[in-house]
Symmetry: D2
Subunit: 428 residues, 4 copies
C-alpha cells in the first residue's frame, strides 16, 4: 500500500532517466580511475536507512513562536502516513521513531499494521520527562531522573519502563533517554548528587530492558537547562553508559555540543570504546538549532561518516542507529525530511568512495597535504547520480521534492487536518 | 497606594537595622581610605532605576516546555500589581516596559492611573512582529519589517506606529524594535536585500516618531532564525541606526552576542559614536539564555557599568535606558526581578567606587597589573550595605525576598489568578 | 623566465589530457541542462587571481614551537622564487603581498625586475607594528597606533608611511593595516581612548596615502591581545574606515571572528556599505587557526563567494582584494598555497554556476527549501574540470602538486638555503 | 634564607596593621552572623598552597611576538630565586613545578639545596614533547606519544621516564603529561589509531612510575594542533586515565576547553569518578589565553573551588594538585604570580564561607533563588582581610606588590641577567 500513486512517480522519472543514466555512467568512469566500483557503492547506499522521528513531520517552532503549516498531522496515524510518503518517494527512511506520550495510541497492533502497510518499521522509542502532561502526579519542572524527590524520580523511571513495554509491542529494539534535567543557576543543583540520582534512576530502567534491547544515553550541553545539564557531554554520557552496562551506549546528536567541538573525534572515541549508540542528525550554526542535516556544514557531516566507514572498513563491530532529529520551522516537513535523508546518504556515499589505501598510506607517512586531499576528493565528488539510481531502483522518485509538489498531497490532507493551534508565544 | 502592608516591611527591617548601620559605617571607613565618600555613592545608587518588562513577571519557558508557577498574572493590570510589589520592596524599578499586543488594554488612562497609584511610570514600549496574532492578515513566518511581501512589511510598520501611539498615551518616550527576521538556510534570504527592506520599513517607523522619542534598534545573533538574522550584531545595528537618524540608537541585550564577544567594548564604541540606546540586562552561559542578571558572570556586568560610569565621569552626554529582560523558568519572577535589580545596582555601585584617578594613571603608564587591580578592587568590595541603605531610606525592605515570602502575596493572588495553560510542548 | 622546466609540466599534463577533456565535456552537458555556459564560467575563473603573502612561503608555527621544513626562503628574493613556482604551476596567484620589515630590501627596482621575470606583480603592502625590531626606539609591547605614548604612535605612523613609499616603488596600490594593539586585563586600557588614539594615528597615515591607493583596515577579535583588541570586529573596522574616508575600507580575514559568526553576512553588509576592502583567506575551527583555505569549512568559503558573485551579478561597484593568509605548520608551503588557491577558485566557480534566477525567485517566494537547494547545487557540483582547464589553458599543471613533487624543486633549493633557526619554544 | 630583607616587609606591614585588624574584626562579626568562624577559615586558607611553574617567571609571548621584560631568569637557579621572592612576600606558593628540558640542570642536589634554602619544595614535573631540542634524533613535528613512527614514540616515552627519574631526585611525586599531538587537517591523522598509539606509549610511561607517584593526563581542545588533538577533552582524558590505572588521573587546565563549557561540572564528574588530578589555574576569554587566574571570570574560579570545598565537606577522598599556569606577556611575572596566587586563595576562602547547610537545604527543596543567593553570598563577601592576615601571620607582606616594587628586586637582578633574545616574530 503506497500513499501516492506510483504512476505519478514513473511519469516524473521518465523525463529524467536519460540524464541519470548518462551521469551515472560518467561518474562510474571517474570512480573507476580511482579503482572504485560504482555499483558496489550504490548497493551499500541502497542498504542504508535513516529513521524519521514521528515529531519531525510536524512544524517545529521556537520559544518565540510557532508558525504552523497546512495539513499538520493530528495523531500518530497521520504521522505514519506522512512518513509513508517520505519513504515512498525518497526510499531512504524505512524506520519511524516514536515519542511517548506524544504518540500515545489506544491500539498498537493496528498502528503496527498500518506501518507494515506502508513498508515502515519502528526504530528506537523515545521517552519524555522534559515536559509535564495533564494529570501527572509530579512535575518535571526541577528534573526527572535526577530530581531530588524520590517520587518524581520513580514516576520518570516508570514512564521509561512503560515506553519499553510499548516499544516491545511495535518492534522497537532500543530506548532513547534524553532528559531536560539540569539547572539555571550556579548553586541550584548539587552537581555530583544530581548525577548520582540520575545513575540510580537509569539503573532501574536498565534493569527493565529486554535482553535484545539497547539503551541510548543522549547528552546535551544546554537547553532547557542553561547553567548546567546532568548529561552535559559525551564524557558524562560515557560515564553513565559504562556504569549501566553493555546494553547502554552513547547517542550523538550533532547539535548538542559546545561551539567548535570536533564531533567526528567523539565518534572515533565512542567507536573505540564500543559505546557508540548512533546518531540524531541535524545541523546547527549557533547551538541546538535543529536545522536540516548538512544544510550548514556538509563537510562536518561527511567527516562523521568518514569515521563510520573507516571503522566498517577495518571490520570493527558496531551497529549505529541513524535518525534525523530536526525542527522544520520554515519548510514543509516532508520536503525537509526527504532532502535531509538524501543529504545523509550523500555523506555516506562520499565517505564510501574515499580511497582508503591512499589515505592510510598518507596518514602513516604524515603527508598531511596528500591525506587531506585524498579525503576531500571523496567529498568533492558529486555523487548525485548514485543517489538518484538508488531511489530509482527502489521505485522512488529521482526528484522526490518535485514529485511531492506535483502530487498535491499536502493540499489534500489539509482538508482533513484542521489548522493546528496558534503560534505559541508569550514565552519569552 | 502600596500593594503590601508597609508595617510588614518595617517589622522585618527592624531586626536588621543594627547590622546595616554597622556594616555601612565600616564600609564607609574602608572607602574613606580610598578617598571615596560613601554617602555620595549611595545617593547616586538611589537615583538609579532599571525598568521591568511586563512579560518578566510571568513564568518563562523554553521550546521544550513551560512550567507555570502559581498566581501568574492574567493581564496587564495583574502585571502592574506584581511590578508594584517589586517596586515597593526593592525600590530599584520605577518603570515598566509594555509589550504590544501582549499588554493590549481597552482603557489606557485607567492603566496609567493604576500605575500612578503604585508610583510606577512607563518605559520604552515594545512591538511584536515575531509572532502571529489571531486574525492577523499577513503572517510573520518569513519575516516582518524585512519580508519580501510589501503588504506584510506595511502591516509590521503599522503595528510599530500603533505602538508609538499607545506609548504616547501612557508616557513612554521610546520604541524598542526587535524583529525575529532572518533565515534558517543559506540561500533562503537575499542577505543584502533583506537588510535594505528592513531599512526601508524602519525609516517609515522613524518618520512617525514624535520629536522627543527615541527608537531603539535591538540586534541579536540568532534565534528564532538560526542561520542568519537581519540585525545580527552591533555593526548592523549601528548601520541601521545611522541610516535612520539621530533619534535611532542601538540597544545592547547582554545575551544577544556570539560566544566570547567583549560586550563592554561594544558599549564603549557605541558611547563614543553617540549611539548607545541602553540595555536589556540578563545573563547567559550558552546563548540568549535569559538567565538572571549577574547570575553567571557578575564581573562582566560590572565591566559594562565601568564603561558607563567612566563615560559619566568624563562628562559625555548620553542617557542609556536600563531594563531587565530575563526568562524566569525556575523561580518566582517577583523574587528574581527584585534580586536582579539589586544585582544591577550592585554593579553600578561597584563601578562608582573605582578609584578613577589611580586607574587613569595606571592606564596611561601601561601598568597593566596596577590598572587591573585598581578596577577589580571596586568589584571585590562588598557594597551590600549601600544597597541595603538605599532600600531602607526609600521605605523598602532590607531583605526584599524575605519580606516577600513572609507577605504571602503569591499565595494570595493565586486564589484569584487561575493556573495558566499547560506546559507547552510538542515544539521540538 | 620560469622557475621550473615547462617540459616537465607538459609531460605530466599529457597523461591526463584525455580525462580532463572528457570530464569537462560531461560537466558542460550537465551545466547546459541548467542553462549555464561552462566556457563563460571558465573564462571568469581564468581571470580571477588571489595574492600570495610573502610570509606564507615560510613554515609557520605556534607559540609552542616551529618545525621548519627544508629549503625555507632566506629573503624576499627566495620568497619570490617560491611564488614563481606557485604561479607557474597553479596559475591562480599573480600577485605577491609584501610585509615590512620582513621583506626589507636594499634594491627595490631589482626586486621588481625579478618579479616581472616571473610574471608576478605586487599586491597590498603590509606594515608591522605588532613586534619590535632591533634598534627600534619605542617598543610596541603596549600598543602601536593606539599607544598612550605619542612618540610610539608617531613611530608607528611613520613606519606605515614608509610602507606606502615602498609600495609605490613596487607598484602596490593598497596598504593593509593590522595592529596587535589591545589589552590582556580588564582595566589595562581605557577602551574609548585607545580607539580615539588609533583613529588619530590612522588619520595621519590616511593623509599620506596617494590618490589611487586604498587603506585596508583589518579587524581581529583577539590575539595577541586576549582581553580586548582595538579593532575587534567589523563594527569597529567600519567605524574606523568611515571616520577615515572613502579610500579606507574593511578587510575580512576569515579567521578573525568570534565563534559562530556569520561571515558571509558581514560581507553582505560591507558590500552594501561600499566598504569591503577584500579578504585574507584561510580556514579555522577554533580561532585564528590560519589553516588552509576551505580545509575545514568549504561550504562557508562558498557562501562568501556567493555574496561576491551575487553582488557582481547585480552590477554593484566593488573591487575586493583577494589574498591567502595561512600558517603552514605541517605541509610544504608551496603545496599548501597551490592547493588553497585552487580551493578559492573552486568556491568562485561553484558560486558562478548557481542558477541566480531560480534562486531569486525562490527567495522572493520564501521557498526556503528550493532556495537552499538551488544554492547548494552549485556547491555540490564538482567543478574540478573547470579548474583543470583553466590551468591547462594558461600553461600550468593539471595536477600542480604532483608536478611540483616530481620537479625536485624543494630538494634543490634546500642545498642553497640552510636550515632555519630552531623550533622556537620557551614561549608558553 | 630569604631573598628580600624581612625588615622591608615589616616596615610596609606596620603602616597597614591597624586597618587589617579592624577589617578582620568586622568581617569576623559579619561571618559570625552566618555562624561561620573566621579563624577556622583563616587556618584552612593558611594551609593552602598553589605551585608556581618554573616557566611562569619568564615573560611569555604569542606566535606574533614576545616582548621581554628586564631581568628575566637565565636558568633554573634564577627561576628559583624569583619563586623565592614570590613565596617570601605572598606566602601562598610553597612548591615549584619544573619543566624538562627547559630546567635541565647538571647538579640536582645543589638545586634542591637552594630550594630548601628558600623554603621551597618541588611539585609535579613536566615533560616536553611538543617542541624539538637541538640534536634530537626524531622530530615531534607530527606528534610524539602518538606518532606513527615507533622510534619517535620510543624517544618520547624515554624522555618522560627520564623526567620521572629527575623528579625522584628533587622530591616530585607526579608527572604531568601534556602533548601537542594532533592534526591540522581533516584526514591528516587516523583519529582512532592515533589515540591507540598514545595509550600504548602512555602505558609504558605508567609502568615506569614509582609506587607513590601519580601521572597527570592533561587534555586540551586545540593548539598547537588546530583541527583535532589526541587528548581533546576530559572524556578522552578519562578514557586514557582509566585505561592506564589508578595512578593516572585527569588534570584540568581552566583554559583548555571549548567555549561555554561548564568547567565546574567537569570537576564534579572527575571527583565522583576518583580521577581528579588537580588544576592548572589561569583565565581566558577566547581560548587558551593563559591570562592571570581570575582576571576575566572570577566567579567561574569560585565555582570550581565550590566543588572542591563541597567534596571536602562531604569527606570525599581526593587530593588535587594546584598550580598556576599563565603566560605573563604584559606584566612583571613576579607581580602577576603573587596576585594570581592571592586570587586563588580568595576563591578558596569564599568557597569556605558558603553556608553549606543552607545551600544543601535550598538545593534539596529546589529553591533555585535561595540556593543561588546562598552560594553567591560567599562570593560577594570581601575576604581580603583573611588573605592579609594569612600573609601577615606567615611573615609575608600585607600588600605584596607594593613591597616588591619598593624592594627594587627587578632592577637589581636586571644587572646580572642580560636582556633576553628579541621579540620572536616571523611566525605568523
Amino acid at each position: 500500500m503506497t500513499v501516492l500513486d506510483p504512476g505519478l512517480i514513473q511519469d516524473h522519472n521518465h523525463r529524467l532517466l536519460r540524464h541519470v543514466a548518462s551521469d551515472y555512467e560518467h561518474l562510474g568512469e571517474q570512480l573507476a580511475r580511482r579503482h572504485i566500483d560504482i555499483d558496489a557503492v550504490r548497493q551499500k547506499v541502497a542498504a542504508f536507512g535513516v529513521a524519521i522521528p514521528s515529531w519531525g513531520v510536524g512544524t517545529g517552532g521556537t520559544r518565540f513562536a510557532r508558525f504552523p503549516g497546512p495539513g499538520e498531522p493530528r495523531n500518530v496515524f497521520d504521522k505514519l502516513q506522512d512518513c509513508g510518503v517520505i519513504w515512498q518517494l525518497a526510499r531512504a527512511t524505512p524506520g519511524v521513531s516514536l515519542h511517548i506520550p506524544w504518540d500515545q495510541c489506544s491500539d498498537w497492533p493496528a498502528l503496527r499494521a498500518v506501518a507494515d502497510g506502508y513498508g515502515l518499521g519502528f526504530d528506537a522509542i523515545n521517552s519524555n520527562t522534559f515536559s509535564d502532561q495533564p494529570g501527572q502526579a509530579h512535575s518535571y519542572k526541577f528534573g526527572s531522573l535526577s530530581h531530588t524527590d524520590a517520587g518524581t524520580r520513580a514516576q520518570a523511571v516508570a514512564h521509561n519502563i512503560e515506553c519499553v513495554a510499548i516499544g516491545q509491542r511495535i518492534g522497537s529494539k532500543a530506548l532513547t533517554v534524553w532528559v531536560g534535567d539540569g539547572s539555571n543557576f550556579p548553586g541550584q543543583q548539587h552537581l555530583r548528587r544530581a548525577f548520582e540520582r540520575y545513575l540510580d534512576s537509569a539503573r532501574q530502567i536498565y534493569a527493565a530492558l529486554p535482553d535484545d534491547w539497547r539503551m541510548f544515553v543522549e547528552h546535551k550541553i544546554c537547553e532547557p537547562a542553561f547553567y548546567g545539564t546532568v548529561i552535559q557531554d559525551w564524557g558524562s554520557s560515557y560515564l553513565a553508559a559504562s556504569a549501566l552496562g553493555p546494553k547502554a551506549q552513547c547517542l550523538v546528536d550533532l547539535g548538542h555540543h559546545a561551539p567548535n567541538v570536533n564531533i567526528e573525534m567523539i565518534v572515533a572515541r565512542l567507536i573505540a570504546a564500543g559505546k557508540l549508540a548512533g546518531f540524531h542528525f541535524n545541523d546547527s550554526k549557533y547551538g541546538d538549532d535543529d536545522l536540516d542535516a548538512g544544510s550548514i556544514a556538509p563537510y562536518r557531516l561527511f567527516l562523521v561518516f568518514n569515521e563510520l566507514v573507516a571503522a566498517a572498513h577495518e571490520k570493527l563491530a558496531f551497529e549505529p542507529a541513524y535518525m534525523l532529529d530536526q525542527s522544520h520551522n520554515v519548510t514543509d516537513p516532508i520536503e525537509s525530511l526527504m532532502t535531509s535523508a538524501a543529504q545523509v546518504q550523500r555523506s555516506y556515499a562520499q565517505a564510501l568512495i574515499v580511497e582508503r589505501s591512499l589515505l592510510d598510506a598518507a596518514q602513516q607517512a604524515n603527508d598531511a597535504l596528500l591525506a587531506s586531499q585524498t579525503l576531500k576528493r571523496g567529498f568533492e565528488t558529486d555523487v548525485t547520480p548514485i543517489l538518484q539510481r538508488v531511489r530509482l531502483d527502489a521505485g522512488g522518485a529521482i526528484d522526490p521534492v518535485a514529485v511531492y509538489r506535483a502530487s498535491g498531497y499536502r493540499q489534500r490532507v489539509a482538508k482533513d487536518r484542521p489548522a493546528s493551534a496558534g503560534s505559541g508565544g508569550g514565552i519569552v
